[in-house]
Symmetry: C2
Subunit: 169 residues, 2 copies
């Protein structure tokens, strides 16, 4: 990316019941919130229909906001294989929508996202949320999943800037 150019990144936090999303634009080095929210798939609907809802919603959002890259948090799955399978399916539907739209997807460890926003990999959720608001200069309070999605997007833009400054990109 050239300095001064505009870059829109989609952050995602996929889940089978709630999928958070956030679009962040970088223009001349300044980050700006474009849109954020959650896709709710309902509690009592068929699981496969939920996957279709996630795919369709993410594809529609990509069409509306035209991001060029996507960022997502790596998932911690050491506890329960059943939960991992469920979460994996939601994640698969969301990331397939990114891929079909031609977006490269970048995954970050939770500690990297926290460090990028707060300065420490052991930061609390509330600290991350506070810094997301601060960096994007907005006072709005978002749902937890939307905040996590925005954090992934901001982290990705920070990483991009860092890589650029280091001359590797």
């Amino acid at each position: 990316m050239q300095s001064g150019a505009e870059l829109v990144v989609l952050g995602l936090d996929p889940g089978s019941r709630v999928t958070g999303y956030g679009f962040v634009r970088e223009r001349s080095g300044v980050l700006e919130l474009m849109a954020a929210g959650v896709v709710r798939t309902g509690w009592d609907t068929d699981f496969c229909r939920r996957l279709g809802t996630i795919y369709t919603a993410v594809a529609k959002l990509i069409g509306q906001h035209a991001p060029v890259e996507a960022a997502v948090e790596n998932v911690f799955v050491s506890k329960n294989a059943g939960t991992a399978l469920k979460l994996g399916q939601a994640r698969g539907a969301a990331l397939a929508a990114c891929s079909v739209a031609g977006l490269p997807v970048f995954s970050y460890e939770p500690t990297i996202i926290k460090k990028s926003l707060v300065g420490t990999g052991r930061a609390e959720k509330s600290q991350v949320a506070f810094m997301v608001g601060r960096v994007l200069a907005c006072r709005e309070t978002f749902a937890v999943d939307a905040t996590d999605a925005l954090a992934a997007a901001v982290c990705h833009l920070n990483q991009r800037r860092l890589t650029r400054l280091c001359g590797a990109r």
Copy 2:
């Protein structure tokens, strides 16, 4: 479904590297193979691109063969959460394609599929493959994943017939 009517079912066996598929048509109570094969996503490509490939391929196949329902085997995931997450994402991409196309997806336990084809829930893979060929009156040898996909489709059509005969549908 009315007796004598035509019904096309898509069987799926999703995986992150190989996704098996099989289309089976029931016409006047007779099962017929329409198409079967595998979608290969490559070994060295980006994981998210694989999800996009799975989604696009399954969506295209649905468009070509116009099934009205889909069947898939339930996954056994008690061992490894990391594997479950990976498999879940591939499954999510494939099932999202079914859902977006408006197909209801029916899941069956592996033992139910084996019992439906071979008569015992403890049947070997080779016995299931033999019966798939027998039921569909074809001598062709398919890849393992395609056979598993066809087995799910045949199982679903058997279950449908059984339910109809029992007067519940």
